[in-house]
Amino acid sequence: MSKGPTHFSRSTQFLLVALLLTAGFVFVLLRMAMIQLVQYGKWDQLATRQHERKISLHVERGTIYDRNGKVLAINIDVPSLYAIPDEIVDRKEMARLLSSHLPISKKELVTKLNRGKDFIWLARKIDPDRLNGIKSVGGIGTLTESMRFYPKRALFGHILGFVGIDNEGLEGIEHKYEKRLRGEPGEVFVALDGHGKSIYPKGFNYIPPSRGEDLHLTLDETIQHIATRALRHAVTRTRAKGGTAIVMGPHEGAILAMVVYPPFNPNAIDQYHPSGWRNKAITDMYEPGSTFKIVTAAAALEEKRVFPDQMIDCEKGSYRVSGTIIHDHKPMGRVPFFDVVAHSSNIGMIKVASRLGRVQLASYAKSFGFGSRLGIDLPGESPGLLRETQKWSDRSLASIAIGQEIAVTPLQMAVAASVIANRGWLVTPYTVMNGSASPRKRVLSEKTADAMTKMLRRVVSEGTGKRAAIAGFSVAGKTGTAQKIDSGTGQYSEKGFMSSFVGFVPADAPMLTILVMIDEPQEETFGGEVAAPAFAVIGREALHYLRIAPAMPKAVVAQRRHALGSASPRNGVKI
């Protein structure tokens, strides 16, 4: 007997339906509880994301000025081109059209458009003229972005550095002062309707952008130009590889000019090899040669191992030290120590250094700022190279006394000369005005510094630095001609020289310390022939610009000098 279909009683059917409905309600209630109570945060976040949009507000990077308020770095508004690939009907045709306006190939553009992204940049920060004929095409749009512009082009390139595509500082002052220059971008939250259109800005959630801070440098456009012109002339005249010039206020450490040749234009960084971006005035080391005798002589005088008029036997220009024959370019017999300095006798200086000893020479070299970073507010400063005395060979004392076996940066050499100009005080160089005096440290007594000034004046009046003389002004300084190391042989090169001159003017009331260094000059090689004339031109023109006249009373010069270190931001200093 087959079973027929099961028949439930009406009451059972009612019970089943009620159970199903109850289960359904319970499920819905549980789900609601889950969403509203347990997963509240997650769903709220999703809803907010759908109904609100955060818009980043553009922030302007701070402007950089020179000491007189001339603009050195500023922002300009330029268009950037973007694409929304889904809205483009024919991507290949679009790529063809765009490639005729932009410096990108058609193939590259097609690849970009087919990457499957909702939004892509086609070209950022482009010349507005390139946009003619592109603007009205569907799926393509422009946004205005801020681009860094350097109106003085290459004049301050190595100091200012440059920024990246998103305006982040990558080199130079732009990098060092990134935090102050960049500012803080703002934000605004916008409420959206069901179609994704903005209803109203949510005023309570507005965070205004905070503009980047402006910077006022100690550098002076005119002095920088003077130094650039003189350095360029010296490098081209001697067919050298390059050169460096530094002009600074010796008393407070303010850098007035810092030039590296060949120049570098930060508006077109891609046209230079990265090595061309480097500020060699602070990053590169060289053996200073005879300019370092300033340190040896000052240390010996301070320690009373020699006196300015004490007679020193210069051995007629030939002298054996630790198995090596040392020569002088101008053979001399017994001469007073001031002539050892004036005529840059290696033998005389080595003899004086031997009275001083390695520990004291190393100690003074460190005190003058060698072997460690000076702390200038620029990135990439090199500490130079001054080995510990335990690692010195028998010949090291003699070598270091005349500026060999030691590596320095051009800035270190300029700061060391400033110690003499500053009557024994070592200052920390700086490029951005900050309203406070830079730290300083006493290295020599005033008496020693004054004696050194006298001897360095004699270098220019009687000795190797005659071509550094400036009519109407007293000049103190020292020449240097150092052989470079031949990278092939590891020995001193017979052809490659670093020729330099470092000094200060006016010697009786120093206003400016100037260093000129020429890298591998051809034919003429002596610092007194190659670098000293450039020093004289920079000194003469800079003093003229600063309204320092020949024979001007010391008090007036001192007054003008004071202004160099105390310029007020915005309006600059009235010199």
Partner: protein, 68 residues
């Protein structure tokens, strides 16, 4: 009130426009006054040359200066 509101908005737009113009002019001035450019124009177009030291005369007002 509404009219004043519109006027303020209009003036703010005008101010923004003027500030943009000011910035553009500032950039133009700074670019055109770059010293290497001035020097190049002065020497090539106007046949000028830098004054030599012996051509300079210093005139003292409140300080005693040498004649030349």
């Amino acid at each position: 009130m509404t009219r004043v509101g519109y006027e303020i908005q209009e003036m703010q737009r005008h101010k923004k426009k003027l500030m943009k113009l000011h910035k553009e002019l500032l950039i133009e001035v700074e670019s055109l006054s770059a010293l290497d450019r001035i020097e190049e124009r002065a020497t090539s177009l106007l046949a000028m040359r830098p004054a030599q030291p012996e051509e300079r005369i210093y005139i003292g007002r409140d300080v005693e200066l040498s004649g030349r």
